[in-house]
């Protein structure tokens, strides 16, 4: 996604034990695709935007990132390559 292009203050970063999920609320249209396709119920919609509610449950599968149509969510993990 375009985390670098988005102004730094626009990104919302959640981090835990080497796992990082970055969202850009200004890009997010609250479509819920990522929320519904996440197999671990990590994500929610709050105030019409994606919200990382349970980062500790994330398995770094990248299903959310690959299918977000809006470049609004990015998952970085402990190095293992995500699949879909």
């Amino acid at each position: 996604m375009s985390t670098v292009q988005a102004r730094k203050e626009e990104t919302v970063v959640s981090e835990k034990e080497g796992r990082k999920i970055t969202v850009i609320p200004r890009y997010c249209k609250g479509c819920e695709i990522c929320v519904a396709l996440c197999p671990k119920s990590v994500l929610e919609i709050r105030e019409f935007k994606v919200y990382v509610a349970r980062i500790e449950d994330c398995n770094e599968c990248l299903l959310c990132e690959i299918r977000c149509p809006d470049f609004a969510i990015e998952v970085e993990g402990k190095g293992k390559k995500g699949k879909s």
Binding site: S2, A6, I33, C68, P69
Partner: protein
């Protein structure tokens, strides 16, 4: 690991204009990852589109891009490719753009086997203009122009492309975004006309009118209603008839148009 799309994006263009849940963004991201997978040089790559929601795609990406007139992406792309056959030329088009107003360009580009990769953003509708039926709107479905159900039958993009002579033909979906990326990459690498039928969704003008549920429901529909061509061999004919087949349907080697054209130029020069 996260994929870095930044390298291929024009700065300051996001958020894009597509509706919440519109799957065009998933196809765009798959094209970007495919280009990265193949390792194309940005300055040697041209992305051409016509008119429609799908055709807005080139405006967001940092390549040599052409946003042309409705249905004419392949006509412009043919000119670009013939002027400099060493360029990588990719066309992006909606189903209406590619197959209705641009249908003639489409079949003849396939027939010529020119080395262009055509990605059809197939959402079964004219999205941009408010939901008129397109050549891929299924029989019986509702559109603003078919308020009692579509009496027409849809084109099968794969069969149409193969019948017309394209030498790489595949179908993917936005649910299966990684296989779609692979198909686009193979289409780019393939020498000759490649058509990728990218099944996607228009929740706003098609999904809503046909009560297909949320944007996610529409994407999940592909999971349950498509089957890869290999897996389909294990199904009974009745089971198979209910599914849309996905995968690579043709990958043939056949003389490519620019090379054939060059032979004529060389012959004329030598004469």
């Amino acid at each position: 690991m996260a994929f870095d799309y930044d390298k291929y994006m024009r700065p300051g263009k996001l958020p894009h204009i597509w509706c919440p849940g519109c799957a065009h963004g998933i196809v765009m991201k798959s094209i970007i990852r495919a280009i990265d997978r193949v390792g194309l040089d940005k300055d040697r790559t041209v992305i051409v589109s016509g008119i429609g929601c799908a055709s807005r795609m080139p405006g967001y990406v940092d390549f040599n891009t052409l946003h042309t007139t409705h249905g004419r992406s392949l006509a412009f792309a043919t000119g670009v490719k013939l002027a400099d056959p060493s360029l990588n030329v990719i066309c992006v088009a909606g189903d209406g753009d590619a197959l209705a107003i641009g249908g003639n360009h489409f079949i003849h580009a396939c027939r010529r086997n020119i080395d262009i990769t055509m990605v059809v953003f197939n959402n079964n509708i004219y999205g941009m203009t408010g939901g008129q039926f397109s050549p891929t709107t299924p029989h019986g479905k509702l559109a603003s122009t078919t308020p009692y159900g579509n009496p027409d039958y849809a084109f099968d993009v794969v069969e149409l492309s193969m019948g017309a002579g394209a030498t790489y033909v595949s179908r993917g979906t936005v649910y299966h975004a990684v296989p779609l990326e692979r198909q686009i990459a193979d289409g780019i690498t393939h020498k000759g006309m490649s058509v990728i039928d990218a099944l996607c969704t228009c929740p706003t003008t098609y999904g809503r009118r046909n009560k297909l549920g949320s944007a996610t429901d529409m994407i999940l529909w592909f999971k349950d209603n498509t089957v890869g061509i290999k897996a389909a061999e294990r199904l009974s004919p009745e089971e198979r008839a209910e599914k849309i087949l996905t995968g690579v349907f043709r990958q043939d080697i056949k003389p490519e148009y620019c090379e054939e054209y060059q032979k004529i130029i060389d012959m004329a020069k030598g004469a």
